[in-house]
Symmetry: C2
Subunit: 348 residues, 2 copies
């Protein structure tokens, strides 16, 4: 049974898929839960990059489930376990969230982690050769990765230890499920006693936050997806942050965003600002986008929701968009030199 009809339905053609199935959707576990709970409705939520697989997963589930089970797919944007579709969750008997590790366990939710099957060791080898100091120079190295490669974490550690590195890892805080795991908003697992951190994973999103949160450490990126080794460079981003803070110093009216997504709310931080500034207004929303803010016509905004909207999407907003600490700097409560990456802790 193909789980990838999105690349063409091969069932009736006599052909087989040319490559191995990349993801294990754990359909058996879902089917079992539906039976156990006598569920009539099943909600499925996929992150953006996997939404295209949704219909094929729904097909395979419908083949296994009783005929009268209603399968629904969330069409809401989804960028993390902080971003559960609570509407669909409340209205379905079984709710399945794919692709992220649990931020908080709940009977209502089945989390299905999706692990990459890419081989990480060739690119780790390259990282060692080109960017990491040799173990006889500095053997201490921190090791972190994302949920996608978590299944290989112990192997990665062993591989480094075989090469005489002393590998430092930790679990981080309660927002993180696994030892060595990072999120785009939380790098507590990298608070280890080493001057260099090896990040194994795809893309620049996670290591950029990691480098901003730990500016004292060298962050070496071994990217097995794009087959590349980099050292994270935060300069461009830090310049953008300084520029935004400077622009916001003239602001008279502030929009203070409280994000209504289940794992992105920082109520105390949002209300504290509004209570202490008569020219600050509390605005509630789920998706924080330039269009939505433009309509309010404020001079500047403080985003207490996802920090990455502020740092990564910030330049797309027409008015300066600051983190809570950057706001305190802009109004003179803290010094510019103290500017640090905004991280998110706790769950909900």
């Amino acid at each position: 049974m193909s789980q990838d009809r999105s690349e063409g339905d091969l069932r009736a053609t006599g052909l087989a898929l040319k490559h191995d199935r990349e993801w294990d959707y754990e359909l058996d576990r879902i089917v079992e839960e539906v039976a156990d709970r006598d569920a009539e409705t099943v909600g499925l939520q996929f992150p953006e990059g996997l939404k295209r697989r949704g219909p094929a997963v729904a097909d395979d589930l419908r083949d296994e489930l009783p005929d009268d089970t209603q399968v629904m797919i969330s069409g809401q944007p989804c960028y993390g376990a902080c971003d559960l579709d609570t509407y669909l969750m409340r209205r379905t008997d079984v709710f399945v969230h794919f692709g992220h590790s649990p931020m908080k366990e709940s009977d209502k939710i089945i989390y299905v982690p999706l692990f990459s099957n890419v081989d990480v060791f060739p690119i780790m080898e390259q990282a060692l050769e080109s960017e990491l100091p040799a173990p006889d120079e500095d053997p201490e190295v921190g090791l972190v990765t994302t949920a996608q490669h978590m299944n290989k974490f112990d192997e990665m550690r062993g591989w480094l230890e075989e090469r005489d590195y002393e590998v430092h890892t930790r679990k981080g805080d309660e927002r993180l499920t696994h030892e060595g795991q990072v999120l785009g908003c939380n790098y507590a697992s990298a608070e280890v006693d080493a001057d260099q951190i090896l990040y194994v994973g795809g893309g620049k999103f996670h290591p950029l936050g990691l480098a901003m949160e730990h500016p004292d450490k060298k962050v070496v990126i071994a990217d097995p997806v794009n087959n590349a080794v980099h050292v994270a460079d935060t300069e461009k981003f830090m310049k953008q942050r300084y520029a935004s803070v400077h622009k916001a110093m003239d602001a008279e009216r502030w929009g203070v965003i409280f994000c209504t997504k289940i794992g992105q709310g920082r109520w105390d931080q949002a209300t504290e600002i509004v209570e202490n500034n008569d020219d600050a207004y509390l605005i509630t929303m789920d998706e924080v986008t330039p269009d939505r803010l433009t309509n309010f016509g404020m001079d500047a905004y403080v985003n207490t929701g996802c920090p990455r909207i502020t740092t990564d999407d910030g330049p797309q907003f027409k008015k300066p968009m600051l983190t809570p600490q950057e706001y305190r700097i802009a109004i003179g409560e803290e010094d510019l030199e103290e500017l640090a990456f905004d991280t998110f802790h706790g769950t909900w």
Copy 2:
């Protein structure tokens, strides 16, 4: 006390606003409700065009309310009374929805209608001279308007009757609050015994739907906001609808959208399609946008939510987006000649 700080705060300058206050936000009624209910939190929701006034309204409210009352402004998009911010409504003691007439009364919600103070009669005069037949030719005329001009409806009727027209009006169905009122998705108030309908109001959005829903009638638009008279022309839109239906005829996989906005859900229509088509998938979302659908990679979509997303925004979607009836035409269950404007009835 100015209710319009968004155009510059004149309180401390000794100047007065040059024009009359345009809107009455009924702050006294809100303050009274807060006292009656001992409310600690107040949520305010404005339609897109009035969001810019939000901060000034919040200022005026905060001046009147006890110091510890928390005022919050909804940052969610809002296009009608069908589009209440249910998150904010559930989490505030008093929830105020500005600018739309009630779709359904509820103790939880204070609806504050906002009436335009523009003079409608000069443009009605012009409409009579240029587009409406003289009363001795055809005295029967239907009269409709939007919530914004509802406060002048009786005067409009009287004005036409003085000029010897026989004015036909009706209340429409339960989705409509007032006699003669139209919504973008419901023109039941225009089902009157007259071949011509006079629509008094701004913009082309409402009369376009009106003309599509009543193709047998001549729809004359008297637009006092833009000071213009037109006859509604649906040709371009109808061509787009035909083109979309034709393109969708080749679709193999269908995304069927169930809209989760409180007044935009048509569950029975959505589930009926999915139950009868193995290649149709139920997708739930609030805002229906091209970006959100692109990620699913279906061949065509059926939108059971707001009909105006389909007809007005349709061309922005990368794949054909059909109304439920258009879907039935595309799969051969109905004839193309039967194609009619999709309207929305009932509340929630």
